[in-house]
């Protein structure tokens, strides 16, 4: 049985957009991190994570996303989330992720914001 998250990444200039589909646990989080670090290594300045097709992110997955955020911040980059369910949004706020990363209702708003921050 494999409940792991599927991840699609598209590079748009210096912005990498991630689409997740499924449960983000330790394996899903690590795969996002692996692909995020690869994007940073090849010059991405901003990462936009669209979680529209993810309904559950557990605390281990969030802890890995926090590590990704810290790496992006170290590089003076930008990390933005969009299309979160109310429960994921709430959990990100509980764990403090929302204090350091921007959260937008839609991908379009996230992309506009990271472009403006560039």
């Amino acid at each position: 049985m494999n409940e792991s998250c599927k991840i699609l990444v598209e590079r748009r200039g210096d912005v990498a957009v991630f689409w997740t589909d499924g449960y983000i646990n330790n394996q899903g989080g690590e795969e996002i991190a692996r692909q995020a670090y690869a994007q940073l290594e090849t010059g991405a300045r901003a990462l936009v994570l669209n979680l529209e097709k993810t309904r559950i992110v557990n605390s281990i997955g969030i802890s890995i996303l926090i590590e990704v955020l810290e790496k992006v911040m170290d590089r003076k980059g930008v990390l933005a989330f969009c299309a979160l369910t109310p429960t994921i949004d709430k959990t990100f706020r509980i764990m403090g992720l929302a204090q350091y990363a921007a959260i937008y209702p839609t991908q379009e708003e996230a992309l506009r914001a990271v472009a403006a921050a560039g």
Binding site: N2, N58, I62, T87, I94
Partner: protein, 155 residues
Amino acid sequence: MARRETLRSGLEGSGAREVSLTIPVASDMEIVATAQVAAMGEYIQMPHDKIDEVKLALVEACINAFEHAHTRDDRVHLTFRVGRDEEDGPDYLEVEVFDQGKGFDHSIVEVPTPEKTFSGGKKRGWGLQIIRSLMDSVAITSGEWGTRILMRKYK
């Protein structure tokens, strides 16, 4: 609407409805268990966002049991209940997570904070905090016999 009327009659007639499930300590079994939360939540027509909150609380409770309890039977025992405190009160969905592990003293578990998490320090240990934040009531009892987490969310 007809389904709703049938449900009200059922809950009023005989109190809580209960379903039990035992899952092995194995990867992704916590997600299998969330299907029962969805079914019971839909049974009382709980809003989907609230069902999602119960699902995540269950996932966190299962992960804690998987990682820390060292269960004697290599299983986690789950009970799902829907019911109502008073005749005219709101319906609730209750989940009991029981493991026959080594137990722990939840009163001395360090409360995580975003500041500690983001200062390069410990990023794990958020499970109980998330459960308490998402559910309306949480009761934890633990000892050498194991740990029982009883958590309830009102519709």
